[in-house]
């Protein structure tokens, strides 16, 4: 217990210690970056909160308040699972402090538990922020009494445990498989990403299975009745959350106590099982990660020459993918963005919404998918690929190369753009196929994506050079310690708003008259293409012009 608390204290210090000034004496602006991104995201936050509030009103009218709480707790857990499993794998299994901690005279179970609790505390922040967005507006909408807000605090503390424990269990086979493929270069990252893809695919399938199939009848009254039954059954299927939700909407004090105790018991039992199993295999699992097998392999002594930029891209890509952490994050969007888009489109498809004609909404759905994909595509892998600062000590090696800086710059931009582009093309195919769109949609989407992608990558490179932070080794560190990666999020968000705004202007008549004039869509796509092209040219020129002096300035 003593060792556990010392390690936990140290991990928390390492994580949360704020430095007022950076190493080169400048004021640390990470907090400011968080505030800027937070303020910029306010409209979206307000939109989500407002939607949840309205859902609350509907749930109350349909008398399924508890079920609503259940889904919101599950949604909160989904967010924690998404961010938590990544954080968990980085902290517990891929962490560089493992070699430092293992020689210390402490039990491995103390190290494991301290790290698990550390991830939990870290994810608690995500849980609190998500609950502010989901649970509070819902509680207001259903007219919850004061004690519910107190109980919400307990729910927020308890709820993130479930996804983390699920993550702890999932991590075991994941790490064994990764261990099996270890030192097989890109295969490790690909296997890892595919496993994550399967995990998230199953997760979304589970959620949509219960919330997606609305009704088979076309009569509105029957649809509503079926919907309520479906919501009710689905909520009960997630028992621990349903019990927790019942504590927020109890019929009596006795029922509150009973459900709370049940919930605590189930959570404690699950926690006990998960921690016991995973701490037992923790030591052997991390040792597999630390091993560095020598193997006999046929190595090509010469490779086809691809020019300076090509060679820089090739070596950067190899380094990226041979590092499971960075490789995974680079490939992650390739899997996760299409998966989410598939489920989003499925929600709006005619097959799912029986009796509801969604054909007329096709242009809106496409624009929505484009906007969402841009946001995800522009903001998910940027810290891993485009950042010069990812180079760390290699950064100085780049400085010593006897080549024109523009070549180094182009290599960085092209590598990052290529991977985002693959995601965007895959998603364009998904959107075109699922919406049965005409062929020109596909080319228009790819065009808009390509121009915006290249332009944005340039801006990201420039932002990274303007505020360089060299000391980060994992994607998590990059995302949390480097303000530049937060700016990527902001850029992605702005991009999404621009597409939505232009789409909104041209597609608005659909909502009022149900029809569009023949020229509306071609003109809309034409304008989107033109704006994207201009954006790309301007950002490329600005980046090419200003990067060298920023590059030279670093650590002079």
């Amino acid at each position: 217990m003593r060792d556990f608390s010392i390690i936990l204290k140290t991990l928390l210090r390492q994580k949360f210690r704020f430095q007022r000034y950076t190493a080169n004496g400048k004021k640390n602006r990470v907090l400011l970056a968080f505030i800027v991104v937070g303020v910029a995201c306010l409209p979206m936050i307000a939109l989500v909160a407002y939607s949840v509030y309205n859902t609350g009103l509907i749930m109350k009218a349909a008398d399924v308040v508890t079920e609503g709480y259940t889904y919101l707790i599950t949604a909160l857990q989904a967010v924690v699972l998404f961010t938590g499993i990544i954080s968990m794998l980085n902290t517990i299994y891929f962490s560089k402090d493992t070699e430092f901690l293992l020689p210390l005279p402490v039990k491995t179970s103390s190290i494991y538990t301290a790290k698990l609790v550390y991830v939990y505390i870290d994810e608690l922040i995500t849980g609190v922020l998500t609950s502010l967005l989901l649970l509070i507006p819902y509680a207001i909408a259903v007219n919850a009494p004061f004690f519910v807000y107190i109980q919400l605090l307990l729910v927020i503390i308890i709820a993130p445990m479930l996804p983390l424990l699920l993550g702890a269990i999932i991590a075991i086979p994941l790490m064994w498989i990764i261990g099996y493929f270890k030192n097989k270069g890109i295969i490790t990252s690909v296997v890892y990403v595919l496993l994550m893809g399967i995990l998230f695919g199953l997760y979304y399938y589970f959620i949509y299975k219960y919330t997606g199939s609305v009704a088979e009848e076309s009569l509105p009254g029957q649809m509503l009745a079926n919907l309520i039954v479906s919501i009710s059954d689905g909520a009960r299927a997630i028992l621990p959350n349903y019990l927790l939700a019942k504590t927020l909407n109890p019929a009596s004090f006795g029922e509150y106590i009973l459900n709370f105790l049940y919930a605590i018991l189930i959570y404690a039992a699950l926690m006990g099982i998960a921690v016991t199993i995973s701490s037992l295999v923790y030591r052997s699992t991390i040792m597999k990660q630390l091993e560095n097998p020598k193997k006999k392999m046929v190595v090509k002594s010469s490779e086809k020459r691809v020019g300076i930029v090509g060679s820089l891209i090739k070596s950067d890509a190899k380094r990226l993918f041979r590092d499971p952490n960075m490789g995974t994050f680079t490939l992650f969007q390739l899997v996760i963005v299409p998966i989410i888009v598939v489920f989003m489109l499925y929600q709006f498809s005619g097959d799912n919404l029986s009796g509801v004609d969604t054909a007329f909404l096709k242009p809106v759905i496409i624009i929505g998918a484009v906007a969402f994909t841009l946001f995800m595509g522009m903001s998910t892998n940027t810290a891993a690929t485009s950042a010069f600062t990812r180079e760390n000590r290699n950064f100085y090696v780049l400085k010593t190369l006897p080549i024109d800086f523009k070549n180094i710059l182009k290599a960085k931009i092209y590598l990052a753009a290529i991977f985002s582009e693959i995601t965007l093309i895959i998603t364009s195919i998904v959107v075109a196929v699922m919406t049965k769109a005409e062929w020109y949609y596909f080319f228009a989407m790819v065009g808009v994506y390509t121009f915006l992608n290249l332009g944005t990558t340039c801006v990201q490179v420039l932002v990274d050079l303007a505020r360089p932070r060299l000391n980060w080794n994992t994607f998590n560190e990059g995302a949390k310690n480097n303000p530049s990666s937060l700016m990527s999020l902001l850029i992605g968000f702005v991009m999404m708003l621009v597409v939505v705004a232009i789409g909104g202007i041209f597609l608005y008549p659909l909502f009022t008259t149900g029809t569009l004039s023949a020229w509306a869509e071609p003109v809309m796509w034409g304008i989107l293409l033109a704006i994207s092209l201009v954006y790309m040219i301007i950002s490329y020129e600005i980046t090419m012009k200003n990067s060298q002096k920023l590059f030279d300035r670093i650590e002079q």
Binding site: I6, Q19, D97, F100, P103, K107, Y180, M287, L290, K296
Partner: protein, 250 residues
């Protein structure tokens, strides 16, 4: 005292043994140099001694304690200076040493005395309250050395300890290693700097392809006084020359 008996280690699916049937005994009061070319198995051996990796077979005994049977008790008597600085760099030097003191259960008063002594010795007093991330490479190395010494370990293991140290600190470290051994403790260190090994070590082991190919005192290894340890090392690690150079000792 360190005793390694028949220790072998293969990494997953690898046909090559990283360490192959290693036998070694390092006595109290000795500075023991562990030499070998890159990829010879030095780091794997050190990782097994410090409990970072498990051996596939064989036994490791540290100060009479079996590492597999009682790892925590064994580790309590080890101080380890790794070759990489993967530590908590947002802690200050002082906080890091307090952390190490707590881990090894060093009484507060003793910890303060040792901290003062070593921080002064390595000229780190003024930087002790700065975060480690702001330290230079050499300063990081020094704080790791101090961290490994705060509990005055019976067995002090150093992996490439002199890298990045300024001449004065390197001298102080070598002096400290000697003092530590003279106080009846064991110092086990690996290095590529053969000149240092030659000056500091009482005995030397040379490992290649995971196998121990020579272990002896410097005097015995250098039968011919005019030949440097560097020459012996190069000759021994060149497989074709082993027999001719070391002959009957193998």
């Amino acid at each position: 005292m360190l005793k390694i008996e028949n220790v072998s280690k293969s990494y997953a699916k690898s046909p090559v043994k990283a360490v192959d049937g290693l036998n070694l005994e390092v006595k109290d009061g000795e500075i023991f140099g562990f030499l070998g070319p890159n990829g010879a198995g030095k780091s794997t051996t050190i990782k097994m001694i410090t409990g970072i990796l498990n051996s596939d077979s064989g036994n490791i005994e540290i100060n009479g304690i079996n590492l597999k049977r009682d790892p925590i008790k064994a580790k309590m008597t080890i101080g380890y200076v790794p070759d990489e600085h993967n530590t908590y760099d947002k802690l200050t030097g002082n906080e890091y040493l307090n952390f190490m003191g707590e881990m090894y259960d060093v009484p507060q008063k003793t910890l303060e005395e040792r901290k003062t002594k070593y921080l002064r010795l390595f000229h780190l007093e003024e930087n002790a309250n700065e975060q480690i991330k702001s330290y230079s490479h050499g300063m990081k190395q020094k704080i790791l050395v101090i961290g490994a010494l705060v509990h005055e370990p019976k067995l002090w293991i150093l992996d490439e300890p002199l890298t990045g140290l300024d001449p004065e600190s390197a001298y102080e470290l070598k002096k400290l290693m000697r003092e530590h051994a003279d106080n009846g403790n064991t110092v086990f260190f690996s290095s590529h700097v053969i000149d240092v090994v030659e000056k500091v070590c009482d005995r030397v082991a040379i490992i290649n392809h995971g196998k121990l190919i020579a272990v002896d005192t410097l005097a015995n290894l250098k039968k011919d006084k005019t030949v440097s340890l560097e020459k012996i090392f190069l000759d021994i690690t060149n497989e074709n020359n082993i027999e001719s150079v070391y002959g009957s000792k193998l």
